[in-house]
Symmetry: C2
Subunit: 135 residues, 2 copies
């Protein structure tokens, strides 16, 4: 099947995408963002600071251990702060840093694309698999 | 450390993010987009159709096998078309579909974030690791 040439003759990302530094930058960020729980935690914190148990409730099926690991990785990357309030029992809030808030926009762009195009992707997969010769 | 409450009191993603369907959609898309080569191939095809060897050259360090696998997965997901021209030898073009082109925007948003904030993330990691008590 021949497709017409695309109208968008230029890449949104100019040639400098493929510099080694960019490759490393993208790998580093994808290793963080290419994780479902990271995306969901960052998104859940988009509404403001939350306590551990509030986050856990908001995320439904996440385990305590996975939420702990995800929050710790986000804290290490400078995307989330952990604040302990000297109450009894101590209250611990998690909150996006400025860097973390700046990640909301691309993360939400990806989430919106996912919601809008999941069905199209699934249909494409079914068509592709139906056309595959049996092995 | 106490952080001031964020100005952005509302999430960019309203409450419906955490519906099961959204979780699945995001997982499905991240399993595709959370892969460095997928992002780089989609981005490289943003400039228009390319032949296999053009892509390989554009991506520098990708192996023939990894490029083949990545393109096949993208074709399966309806993001890329593969067109064989009946020349001798046959010429094979890869091109983003309309769906694939729609993915360029969020992918480029993420890449731009990565380029802009890689240094900040690396610095945060170094600070965090320096403050960790030895084990």
């Amino acid at each position: 099947m021949t497709m017409p040439k695309t109208q968008e003759g230029t890449s949104l990302l100019p040639g400098n995408l493929h510099e080694p530094g960019d490759c490393r930058a993208i790998s580093a960020v994808l290793s963080r963002v290419g994780d479902k729980w990271t995306v969901l935690v960052v998104s859940a914190l988009g509404g403001g600071p939350k306590r551990f148990n509030e986050l856990r409730k908001a995320l439904g099926s996440i385990s305590q251990r996975m939420l702990t690991l995800t929050l710790r990785a986000l804290e290490r990357d400078g995307l989330v702060t952990r604040t302990v309030f000297p109450t009894v029992p101590p209250r611990v809030d998690y909150e996006l840093t400025r860097l973390g808030r700046s990640l909301l926009e691309p993360v939400n762009g990806l989430s919106a694309w996912a919601r809008a195009n999941r069905t199209a992707m699934e249909a494409a997969r079914a068509r592709f698999d139906a056309n595959e010769p049996a092995k």
